[in-house]
């Protein structure tokens, strides 16, 4: 079913083989230095204060922390930057020194050669015999790596010592060490909290760039409205069945079909069980049943996938045969049913929250007017809780659309444009996995298509989340 990435074991151990000082060692040394810096800073503070201990602005340990932070932070920053750019710079230097015939090669071929160089360096198997020019390049690569490594060690330790020295010199009784330390820590906290923004930007940029490249090869209109999906581009000119059609409508339809089935299962079951557990059941029953149902949310999706493919799909096929129906072994129904089971606790716990948020006075009022419990629930509680329930359903749909493992394992690969739940359909997430797992050349529209699909997925789930939030904010009844 899935082409696996065998043979693509690019073992990158060369870091370890070609370094004189490894990164963990550097970090260990830095930790020792930092500890020393703390102690030095503390002693210096006590020393400059002399007998007039109370003239110190801050506690001695703040002077120590100040020195330690200045020792560790600049050095770590340097290490991170160095490691991030080292490989790119060295590779471009090596490529620049390759003979002109190599430089004329296409990007992907060049990447292959660079991989060979690296493999040769780390003593792995290479894909071709190395000619003298390549051998020279390997040596060049190795020496650059060694140089860079030695330089890193020297610069790293100097920066650490320098930072420590500068901080140490600043220590004086009227130096506000605590405020400085707290400012630095606050800055670190701020950086940590902005990571969420950077992650979002990273997601958007990474899928957007590749998608734009894809839309240069395949017009966006063809992608969004094309009815045929067969991403296998021809390797030979005369190959059959590899037209490379990128019409994503069958994928959208398949995703929608499976999500609808899942919601048909999860929405009624989740909602009514939430109502039952919060309005009817004995507290003791609730205390047992609720956590049990929530176990369903904690089960990994790969387990659901296995369950769908191995238990539910054959079960459905056998039942279909009994009724004279032809059920595909990778039917949308099996995937959708199991996905629905997975989403039940999601729907029920959100519904439970919103139902519980409806004030008791509304219930009491309704019952006092003589309604039965079910009338009270249907005519008072549910309308009051509706915005929350709707937004919960939207979030559940977004979860169903983005779910991957169940459909990869239990839905098919064939891009059928059908609404028959007994047939195999494929989804956006399945295609992303299929296109990106296994051997890939990074410039073909086939690989880039996965990013375009990822962009669609991201946009749709984002839109659903935003709408869900909006519904809650706009239609929430205020009871206080």
């Amino acid at each position: 079913m899935i082409i696996r990435g065998h043979g693509r074991l690019q073992i990158s151990r060369f870091h370890q083989y070609y370094s004189i000082v490894s990164t963990p060692l550097l970090i260990a040394v830095l930790l020792l230095l930092t500890a020393a810096a703390f102690e030095l800073g503390r002693r210096r503070a006590l020393q400059v204060a002399g007998s007039e201990f109370r003239t110190l602005h801050s506690l001695p340990r703040y002077y120590g922390s100040f020195t330690a932070l200045w020792c560790a932070l600049p050095a770590m920053l340097l290490l991170g930057t160095w490691l991030a750019f080292e490989d790119k710079i060295i590779t471009s230097l090596v490529v620049a020194d390759l003979p002109a015939t190599y430089q004329a090669l296409s990007e992907s071929k060049l990447n292959l050669i660079i991989n060979d160089l690296r493999n040769q360096l780390s003593g792995n198997v290479v894909s071709q015999e190395l000619n003298p020019a390549m051998q020279a390049a390997v040596d060049h690569y190795g020496s650059l790596r060694a140089t860079s490594n030695a330089a890193l060690a020297v610069v790293f330790l100097s920066v650490a010592m320098l930072g420590m020295g500068m901080a140490w010199r600043k220590i004086a009784p009227n130096f506000w060490a605590r405020n400085r330390v707290e400012a630095i820590i606050k800055l670190l906290l701020i950086i940590c909290s902005t990571l969420a923004i950077f992650t979002t930007i990273g997601i958007v940029l990474s899928v957007l760039f590749e998608s734009i490249r894809f839309f240069q090869a395949v017009p966006i209109f063809d992608f969004l409205f094309g009815l045929e999906w067969s991403p296998q581009t021809a390797i030979r000119e005369d190959q059959v069945g590899s037209s490379g059609a990128f019409g994503a409508v069958p994928l959208f339809a398949g995703t929608l079909l499976i999500s609808v089935i899942a919601m048909l299962v999860a929405a009624p079951i989740g909602l009514t069980s939430a109502i039952y557990l919060s309005e009817y059941s004995h507290p003791r029953f609730r205390a047992i049943a609720k956590p049990l149902l929530e176990i369903l949310a904690g089960i990994p999706t790969v387990v659901y996938g296995f369950f769908a493919a191995l238990t539910v799909a054959p079960l459905l096929r056998d039942m279909g045969t009994n009724f004279g129906l032809d059920v595909s072994s990778e039917s949308a129904l099996a995937a959708g049913l199991v996905m629905g089971i997975m989403i039940i606790p999601f729907v029920s716990s959100i519904s439970d929250d919103v139902i519980n948020a409806v004030p008791q006075s509304l219930r009491d009022g309704s019952l006092a007017l003589g309604s039965t419990r079910s009338e009270m629930i249907r005519k008072v509680v549910l309308p009051a809780a509706l915005p929350g329930i709707v937004s919960g359903m939207l979030l559940a749909i977004s979860r169903a659309i983005g779910e991957t493992m169940i459909v990869v394992m239990a839905a098919g690969l064939a891009a059928n444009l059908t609404v028959n739940p007994l047939e195999a359909v494929t989804t956006v997430t399945v295609q992303i996995v299929t296109l990106l797992v296994g051997d890939q050349e990074f410039d073909s529209p086939k690989t880039l298509a996965a990013f375009a699909l990822g962009l669609m997925l991201f946009l749709v789930t984002l839109a659903l989340n935003v709408v869900a939030l909006y519904v809650v904010r706009k239609y929430r009844e205020q009871y206080e």
């Binding site: 696996r4 693509r8 940590c192 997601i203 039952y276 191995l310 039965t372 997430t429 990822g454 989340n465």
Partner: protein, 426 residues
Amino acid sequence: MTMTTADKIQANLKKRYAAERRFRSYGLASVAIGLAALLLLFISIIGKGYTAFQQTYVKLEVQFDEAIIDPQGTRDPQILARADYGKLIKKTMRKRFPDVTNRRDRRNLYKLVSPGAVFSIQDMVRNDPGLIGTTQTIWVPADDDVDMLIKGYINRDEPESDRRLKDKEIAWIDALAASDSLEKRFNKTFFTAGDSREPELAGIWGAVVGSFYTLLVTLVLSFPIGVSAAVYLQEFAPRNRWTDLIEVNINNLAAVPSIVFGLLGLSVFLNFMALPRSAPLVGGLVLSLMTLPTVIIASRASLQSVPPSIREGALGMGASQMQMVAHHVLPLAMPGMLTGTIIGMARALGESAPLLMIGMVAFIVNVPEGPLDPSTVLPVQIYLWADTPERAFVERTSAATLVLLAFLVVMNGAAVWLRKRFEQRW
């Protein structure tokens, strides 16, 4: 006769009560369906998986023939390492079934013993060269088909052409079983070996270690960063557009499909930063981005539950805001933060979709020795095995699932225990 309102209500009452009972039974039925699905899931996995914890072994009377292992008698480790131990097994099997003379039959006969038996014999000889020249009774793993027959997964009544084992092979296996040369033993290999093409040699240890390194990286990154972010947002941040933006981002990231994080990892960590493919380091990076929102949201809730009086008390005693947070609020909020982190970790442990994107699906036999070695993780191993056609892998997939679920139970149990143990009502 005129109908009073009370009469009208009375007339309707029966119907309304019936509707009430119906409504109530729908609810109960829904709960029952949910629980039944849970039960079916567990029954199907346990039912398929429990047999994988045992493996059939064959008893062989192996004659450690010097002429085959070390004809010169040098006992040179190089020669011992390269000797043809397969020949010993073949010879043993021929001796056990002397009436099998046909070439093709013999080949099938040899196949009853796992290819891994060669390595166990090799190890025996290398550890103790004194064995050469003696005859030893040893137990080696049987082939997965033998194992399946013994466990009753191969239907003997099927027509021969549909069966993986032919009549002759079944007759040999029966002969072995009749002479007590087949035995089911605890399947240690399953817990100690890496992946393999042969089901009887495949184990989950490589994947467990890979999961461990991946989770270690995730924990080391997401816990401090998540707690720091939560502390800033809850205790220091002014309410302005900037912090609103951060909050909206965190909430949205919590709902982004996991596979999108995989795309991020592929294009940023692998293609841009050129980190090694299939490495737990990259897996951990991706998963920590994914678990960060969970950790931040849980940590903020935990910080929020610390009453303002604690803060005011600390500030009143002259503590700076940072000291107030570090000395008083953070320790009180820590159990809640840890609970949230453990739950996030449990989710990361079960996650597989983003890891498919960054190459952690490769077939890897070696047990990884560090976070830079290529490896796979437990859920991905389940996915890989679920995809193989051999019957014996089905039970191993289920068994691996059981192990994964056991880990999850332990982690969630720890979270519940922490919550119960340190729960405080103010």
